[in-house]
């Protein structure tokens, strides 16, 4: 397709600027986002099995709920009943709430013992998946603005530029799209190979990227958008409310959990019920939030669909399962959420989204490399200041973030042996690794940093299955080996990642020592030095 040269040039500049300013932020967002696809498996893997109490018979839930409410009245503000095997049947928060990343959340677990007596204990919550999610949403930029992390707004702005980068990238690829779409030329130099990789990933996963850019902007700025919208609504409310109940409800009259489940089942017959959170039970606006799962449907949340119900009257206020009066509007909105979270298609869907996320990270990484190659002076080793700094940032930030996450995974089971708060250790591990790698890139240069950090990531990845082997051989040590399918797959995946990173380090080393002398990666001896040496010898 023909595009006028002047337009092409403009959009090339737009693509370069929007890309280079956002690439590294998006890199962190995407690789961390890919990992969050397995948040449930990560939590299962990282939480000591002793934290979860045994499940109860389906007929015992009501006894359990009422004994918890009697002995721990504060739990009426948020009591989670879980029907999943391997989870405590009932949990509630002493400190903090289910939302957000907080390092000292105390969670109560409850169950019934054989004689029907309440057994309860508190535990910290392992925040490993929450740490990855925090990186995913904020790129690790600390600080808060309003009720959200500052990084969320930074990524929101980055997503605006990212959307423009997508459109401009397509525009300036159009003239050569048909000719070189499936070309992956590895015999025309590294730069050409990266360009082909970049284009191939960019075009094939374009719909995914458009959805991600759009949803990230909405996630970051919905409050501002609602604010503007309310001006246009005039005296009409954005969200109307049902008239509040005049009755003050009391837990003494709480219907049985079976009745609540039955009502939800009638509404969403093809979903299964994962958990129910009862809150504000002694008030005029009590709520039962039912978490529904289905592998057959696209779900609105990262892991579940929701349904809000009054637990006393069984009145359903709304649900993300379209079976009420949501109209086409609810269907579109929940679809957009679901397309961001990849919460459809069950296990296969999660893996597809994992790879789309990883490919996204590769897209941004190769984008930065292309920028570096293009601005590089071909005929001399000395490069411009901006090229040098961008090169160091690219390696430092990308490798540092990955090393930090790998370290957080690697310390998990070992720190559980100590009295340290694991979540505080996670933050230290992540930020230390990140800043050490970044500093190393500026002090020792990009090649050395890339090689050692890739080797370190590989070793940390290998340490996950290794810890399990040690745990099995030395049970007295007190760390727990991977048990269950998802934890074993997690450690196997870590081992495969380890091999990949080790190979990457080998490749980087080859290029750094024996590659093109004028490349920014080169740290070997230049041709001139070699001839000088051989002459003097």
């Amino acid at each position: 397709m023909k595009v006028r040269a002047d337009i092409l040039r403009i959009y090339q500049a737009v693509h370069t600027w929007t890309g280079i300013t956002t690439g590294l932020l998006l890199f962190i967002g995407f690789f961390a986002g890919a990992i969050t696809m397995f948040a449930s498996s990560i939590d299962k893997w990282a939480t000591p099995p002793s934290h979860q109490l045994p499940q109860v018979e389906s007929t015992q839930y009501d006894t359990l709920i009422h004994s918890v409410l009697a002995q721990y009245p504060e739990s009426q503000n948020g009591l989670k009943v879980s029907f999943e095997e391997g989870q405590s049947p009932i949990t509630w928060y002493q400190q903090g709430s289910a939302r957000g990343l907080s390092l000292d959340k105390q969670l109560w677990h409850g169950t019934l013992d054989e004689s029907g007596e309440l057994q309860a204990h508190t535990s910290y919550i392992n925040e490993l998946s929450a740490l990855v999610d925090y990186l995913h949403r904020s790129a690790g930029i600390a600080g808060e603005i309003g009720h959200d992390q500052a990084g969320v707004y930074v990524l929101g702005i980055a997503a605006i530029l990212y959307f423009i980068a997508l459109i401009s990238g397509v525009i300036f690829l159009l003239p050569t799209l048909v000719k070189s779409f499936f070309a992956l030329r590895d015999n025309k130099g590294a730069s050409r190979f990266w360009l082909d990789t970049h284009n191939l990933i960019g075009i094939t996963s374009l719909p995914f990227h458009i959805i991600i850019a759009l949803t990230v902007i909405v996630f970051a700025f919905h409050d501002i958008l609602y604010g503007g919208l309310s001006k246009l609504y005039g005296d009409k409310p954005l969200f109307a409310r049902d008239a509040p109940s005049k009755v003050e409800f009391n837990v003494a009259h709480l219907p049985s959990i079976e009745e609540i489940v039955a009502r939800a089942k009638v509404y969403a017959p093809e979903h299964s019920i994962k958990e129910i959170t009862l809150s504000r039970l002694n008030s005029k606006s009590p709520s039962a939030s039912v978490q529904l799962v289905s592998d057959e449907y696209l779900m609105r949340g990262p892991k579940t669909d929701f349904l809000f119900m009054n637990p006393y009257t069984f009145e359903i206020s709304t649900s993300s399962v379209i079976n009420g009066d949501q109209g086409i509007w609810g269907a579109v909105v929940t679809t957009l959420f679901g397309l961001h979270f990849g919460s459809y298609g069950g296990e296969i869907g999660r893996w597809v989204y994992f790879f789309l996320g990883v490919l996204g990270a590769v897209l941004f990484y190769t984008g930065n490399l292309l920028w570096l190659e293009k601005r590089r002076k071909q005929k001399q080793a000395e490069q411009s200041k901006s090229t040098q700094i961008m090169g160091k940032l690219t390696i430092g930030v990308a490798m540092g973030a990955m090393l930090g996450v790998a370290a957080a995974f690697a310390v998990t089971k070992w720190v559980a042996l100590t009295a340290l708060n694991i979540n505080v250790v996670y933050m230290w591990a992540y930020y230390l690794c990140f800043f050490i790698t970044l500093m190393s890139a500026f002090i020792f240069g990009i090649s050395k940093t890339a090689i050692w950090s890739q080797r370190s990531i590989a070793i940390l990845c290998f340490s996950l299955p290794l810890s399990s082997i040690i745990a099995m051989m030395l049970p007295s040590l007190g760390i727990w080996p991977a048990s269950g399918w998802s934890s074993v797959v997690l450690e196997l995946s870590a081992a495969i990642l380890g091999v990949i990173f080790w190979k990457m380090a080998d490749k980087t080393r080859l290029r750094a020592l024996y590659g093109e002398p004028n490349s920014i990666w080169f740290i070997g001896q230049s041709q001139a030095e070699q001839t000088l040496q051989s002459q003097s010898a």
Binding site: D6, S168, I217
Partner: protein
């Protein structure tokens, strides 16, 4: 492709176009969504359930960014910043005048 005279070429005019796309473009997408919120089906003049109203509002919020982003992405196609400001500014005036009447009638 025939060579274009300098006056026919699209001028970069970076800051002017970015301003037009960012500010006028955002105002325009709010205005268009406002019209749709009042005039579209299940609009604000109609009586609909609380539940449907809530999802309609969410939908309205969701479609503001895509409209804005498309304007912001294609604003560089205008021949100059002046053109961009005139067209987008004009469209804004049109949309908000319409919105004013629609709300007056409603």
């Amino acid at each position: 492709m025939s060579r274009l005279a300098t006056t026919e070429k699209v001028q970069p005019d970076w800051w002017g176009k970015i301003f037009a796309g960012a500010v006028f473009g955002l105002a325009l997408s709010f205005g268009m969504v406002g019209l749709f919120a009042w005039l579209g089906s299940d609009g604000l003049t109609q009586t609909i359930s609380v539940e449907k109203h809530s999802w309609r509002t969410q939908f309205n919020m969701w479609i503001i960014p895509p409209i804005w982003l498309l304007i912001l992405s294609f604003v560089f196609m205008f021949r100059s910043a002046k053109q961009a400001l005139i067209w987008l500014g004009g469209a804004n005036i049109l949309v908000y005048v319409l919105l004013y009447f629609v709300r007056g009638i409603a």
